[in-house]
Subunit: 244 residues, 2 copies
DNA sequence: GCCTTTATAGTCAGAATGACTATTAAGGAG
DNA sequence: CTCCTTAATAGTCATTCTGACTATAAAGGC
């Protein structure tokens, strides 16, 4: 706000706003994009699945609330997953988006590497990963939030180094390419992808002594870790059109 | 929100959140980027300049509130400026960002063509355009919001057709180029800019009968209006690095 | 009529990309 | 052990896109 409260504004005068966060937590497992959802144990939308989230506490910022919720739902903290990427998406404020009261929700997208199945901690009845491809309707306006989140990360892969956030600390270029192919739903040419990634300074960084990942079916692949760069110049454009 | 209020959650139990909108309204005039600011008439920050904005009313969305405030401050509605572009930026929720109470603010960026000086309508003591280059410190965290807004529109010019929102309904390619040069603070090669814009389908649309803008100093320029496209493929990249 | 200014047309080399082919190095089947 | 399959890696080549230019056209000012 800015122009000052209306003269005589009383914070308690009318039904107040509640402020919450909603999280679209994505991961790539088995060549499919997955989203973390929790099952609602109460009305409204009892039995439906929803994005994890919760109230912003009186003395915390929305981002702190998002990190707290993320830790509660996934058991992850900044330490356990250094690559954790949390990004504010946008805020949803339709007056009727929650039938119980006026709730304004700040949505975040989080990208995590493949994780173990979430422990059922927190207040959620159950939490599990769902294939993002085929989801039944979610509670509240979460379908819309999820669609916006999906658009955002797809677009962001084009001009940022974000894809490494989906990978474990050490990864092969094939795994990185898998991330792009999974999120975009397209196939990329392997040599071209490789050239692009390796000629972009700071995108990835070869591991010392060039260890290789063996045990797979083909020629062992070199290992890399995420580089220092955050932006991609020029961008790595999707074969077709874009959104946003 | 999503997981349900904590059992027994009472909306009136603690100091509630107020939800506001803040607007970074940009225009290009005289080859300089300008921002609309209002002077605060009350403490805190009395006498400082701030982004226009105000409370979200109990039955309206943040976007409606933003449009309402924008109309109040500029005298513009959707009708008067068809090209008006309003875009949600992000939400600022630091617990101490307003010393009076807990205020969560949804920030929007608006792009408008060159407008007459704003009438002093609304509750603001005074409102005027400021050169975005050299601004004194603003009230609250508005310096930060403004910086974020600036980053966003600069980045968005690269991959969207947004620049036309700064132009009047009919414009020349020179004027469009001026927008890019002003926002990015760089000089662009005129023939190359022209080539890029004209070969991007749907970016601009030549006016029927190819009228020309005369009265200027050089050869009269052809007039265009904004095309149907919203995204730029491939993008029009800035000469140097980017942000966000 | 010059001169300045701006719009517009066109050229040319380098960079980046898309579509390929070839080679290397593993595991698995026989 | 040897062939076969699989995947990683190394190149090639043509096309597209871009940046840096030069040239021409059409206005106003003197």
């Amino acid at each position: 706000m800015s122009t000052g409260a209306p003269a005589g504004y009383d914070p308690h005068a009318f039904e107040p706003f509640a402020v919450t966060v909603d999280l679209a937590v994505f991961t790539v497992r088995g060549g499919r994009l997955h989203v973390l959802l929790v099952e609602r144990g109460e009305d409204p939308y009892k039995g439906h699945w929803a994005l994890p989230g919760g109230f912003v506490l009186p003395r915390e910022s929305a981002e702190s609330a998002a990190r707290r919720e993320l830790a509660e739902e996934t058991g992850l903290t900044e330490d356990t997953a250094g690559a954790l990427h949390l990004e504010q998406l946008r805020t949803y404020s339709d007056p009727d988006r929650d039938p119980r009261m006026r709730v304004v929700s700040v949505a975040y997208a989080a990208l995590v590497p493949d994780l173990p199945e979430p422990r059922g901690g927190g207040d959620a009845a159950g939490a599990r990963w769902w294939d993002a491809g085929a989801l039944g309707p979610l509670a509240f306006d979460h379908d819309r939030i999820l669609a916006d989140a999906y658009d955002r990360i797809g677009a962001k892969l084009e001009y940022s180094c974000l894809a490494t956030a989906f990978c474990p600390p050490e990864f092969t270029l094939g795994e990185l390419q898998q991330v792009y192919e999974t999120v975009w739903g397209v196939e990329l040419d392997r040599p071209n992808f490789r050239r692009k990634v390796l000629t972009t300074p700071g995108f990835v960084q070869a591991l010392e002594g060039s260890p290789r990942r063996t045990g797979g079916r083909g020629k062992p692949a070199a290992l890399y870790r995420a580089g220092a760069a955050t932006a991609l110049h020029p961008p790595l454009l999707r074969p077709e059109g874009r959104s946003t």
